[in-house]
Symmetry: C2
Subunit: 431 residues, 2 copies
């Protein structure tokens, strides 16, 4: 473990704070140790020094929802209705092509893409989750890896009767093993899991002390599908099954009425919104301003990149702010600083990692440096530009849990060329 | 003038075409001369050779609407209502800070940003237009530079009684002078120009044989403002004044009903849609699928970057496709290949330059090369990924009118560091 000194950087210590010029930041082990003006900067000897001149240091971004292995299906089928896309393209392709090797390499490619675009932490949900966890651990990326549960045969669970036991074994295997990897439970959705399965999945999560994730109220069609036990909305269905609490993350949450929003707020559950995926599949616009008004913790997810098609959270931030201005008819809605919060500390809390997302002494050192000397970031009046003009390509260096995993745009933890070659090779079978 | 040979590239000759592997393309003077498979590639001696291995060659993007000099106001005021933003921030800042030097350097910075993100041609509308034209000419960028007309004192036209004569002199000065610069007329809007001014501006454009641009139906508020001579919609107002024809470009066109769409389609006028600006200012979503269904030529514009805040047309393409899926409720709406057309040949036609936007022998050589060896562009099944995953940062090299203006991400025609320093210096006066 090398201790790191970042010199002379512009610092955004947390979303909504003022930009501070000419700062140094030190990292000892896995944690941020000191922050101050350059006048008080330590001598450089004994440190791994990163020159922050002309750069902005900010908390690493948190991708609250991904199916990372789906990089294989990026762009395989676009501009299709949700049902056509799922049943004629994605489900058959998954049945034929998802296996441990595919999950490892396609997740590795996703990790490379996320690290390059400034994401330091991700909540993933898929199958063969041990292989996804191994990929993130090898990449040095922080991840909540939640194993999927559905009531039909799935890639790593051929008999759905085994789904709870399979996930229990995965959690046991990965809990407290890697400092970067946190296992979790992902019950796919109320239209793919029976009430009994949902309750068992939540009980498993509670018993193991891990987070419970579920896709909910993604499309308008789902409003008709949930009829028991509560009758009139997907959120009320979850609430009736006592699935909503501070350890639950609701993914999508597009079709929520005022009563649903009050239920979620009262329960302490968090929401992950996926603006690009909800747009591309014409699912709708989640009422994020109404969530923020109620104090619901909202994070941002890319969803799997087959329905996006990018894992760049900067794109996601920009879209989140802009579509909520349509949704409300107000240009003041979901302002840039709020969006930055959703992509950092609030988003981290929404996946159960509330200690992340701030640059302060004692906090885990998950940080990114952006190159500011670029035409599209000139001039820089304030942090809003990170939402409305920056892109993942502006990220220059990435530190996760105190380790430098990307420097000057070179990823140090992954053989990116090999990951691309492996996924390209797998893709030739889909052409 | 150096003749150029691009070798071994993946070629997208025009929007909607198939991707062709292992192609060569030659440029003689300002035009594309030959295209073929590598087996038939000419010997390399005598050519400026660009290695296209691992790269995709496509037509340069056309930004159909910009106020390029507004880079000075990028991020100066965000998340505000249109009226608050205009009257309390932008108009006072423009009154205080717009001058010939500002227009030259801020337009130069915009040109650098556009070239870096793959835009080879722009339609600009602002004041002190000779200085904008000079900036684009110096940058080697193709531009339609349309001089603004309003009925109140403007930065380069202190007495509005001079507005038609001022623009006439600008057109005379720049017509047929630079091969890259085409002058034009920009009547700001029906709520800032009287019917008499609008008619005089259109007559000027006709007399000079240049294109007529106008902002129209941008926000819902405008629906109440246009009461004469036709009474019931901004488009009918323009139609009543006989301003709509094949030489007119309607910018924004958000609030059009079915009758308005039929009028525009029947007139032959073109539309430029500005998805990011219309989103950020909460103006609304233009009915682009309905325009395409009627055969209206639709191009894409960034608008000035104060209301965006980026001039990257790749961001604009992605958003155009996605918001129209919301607008229609259909994931099939405004598909990726259609969007690519709007950003290339259809967009060029929409600003009067219909000879641009295709890679074919005899066409002007406006082309861009993208680096494909990147995680977020892996795998590449088809051209949709250019809309849904690529960004301006993927652009590696740019040729405009046969001249290599960017190579391996280095802009050859502009001193980018000086442009950034100049604009940063101007920006200190606004802090």
């Amino acid at each position: 473990m090398t201790d790191t000194l970042i010199t002379n950087t512009t610092l955004l210590p947390r979303a909504g704070a003022d930009l501070l010029e000419h700062r140094y930041v030190t990292v000892r082990g896995t944690a941020i140790s000191q922050i101050g003006p350059m006048a008080a900067c330590p001598e450089s000897s004994g440190w791994q020094v990163i020159d922050g001149t002309g750069r902005l240091l900010m908390p690493g971004l948190v991708n609250g929802h991904n199916h990372a292995a789906m990089t294989l299906f990026r762009g395989y089928a676009d501009d299709l209705s949700l049902q056509d896309w799922l049943h004629h393209y994605i489900f058959p392709a998954e049945a034929a092509h998802v296996n441990p090797d595919m999950v490892y390499w396609c997740t590795t490619l996703a990790a490379a893409e996320m690290i390059r675009s400034g994401t330091t932490c991700v909540a993933d949900g898929y199958f063969f989750s041990s292989h996804a966890a191994r990929a993130f651990a090898d990449a040095g990326m922080r991840a909540v890896v939640a194993h999927g549960i559905v009531d039909f045969p799935a890639p790593s669970v051929p008999d759905p009767a085994d789904n709870i036991d399979t996930v229990a074994r995965f959690i046991e295997q990965w809990q407290n093993v890697s400092p970067h990897i946190t296992p979790g439970v992902f019950a796919h959705a109320p239209y793919t899991c029976s009430p009994k399965t949902l309750v068992q999945a939540k009980e498993l999560a509670e018993r193991c002390g891990v987070r419970f994730f579920i896709h909910i109220a993604e499309s308008s069609g789902e409003l008709q599908q949930i009829i028991e036990p509560q009758g009139d909305s997907p959120i009320k269905h979850l609430d009736g099954l006592q699935l909503l609490d501070k350890s639950t993350t609701c993914v999508h949450a597009v079709w929520l009425d005022e009563a649903d929003l009050d239920i979620v707020a009262g329960s302490g559950a968090a929401v992950i919104t996926c603006p690009q995926s909800n747009s591309k599949l014409a699912s709708g616009i989640a009422p994020v301003q109404s969530m923020l008004d109620r104090g619901i913790p909202v994070g941002i997810g890319t969803d799997g990149c087959a329905s996006n098609n990018s894992l760049d959270l900067f794109r996601e931030m920009d879209l989140l702010a802009k579509i909520n201005k349509f949704k409300t008819g107000k240009a003041t809605a979901v302002a840039a600083a709020e969006v930055l919060g959703c992509a950092t500390e609030t988003g981290a809390a929404a996946i159960g990692l509330g200690h992340l997302g701030r640059i302060e002494p004692g906090a885990p050192a998950d940080m990114i440096l952006l190159d500011l000397a670029r035409p599209h970031l000139t001039p820089l009046y304030n942090q809003d530009l990170l939402v409305y003009a920056a892109s993942g390509n502006d990220v220059d260096s990435v530190i996760i849990d105190g380790t430098l995993v990307m420097h000057n745009k070179q990823i140090l933890s992954i053989d990116v060329a090999e990951a691309m070659a492996r996924v390209n090779s797998l893709a030739t079978r889909l052409h």
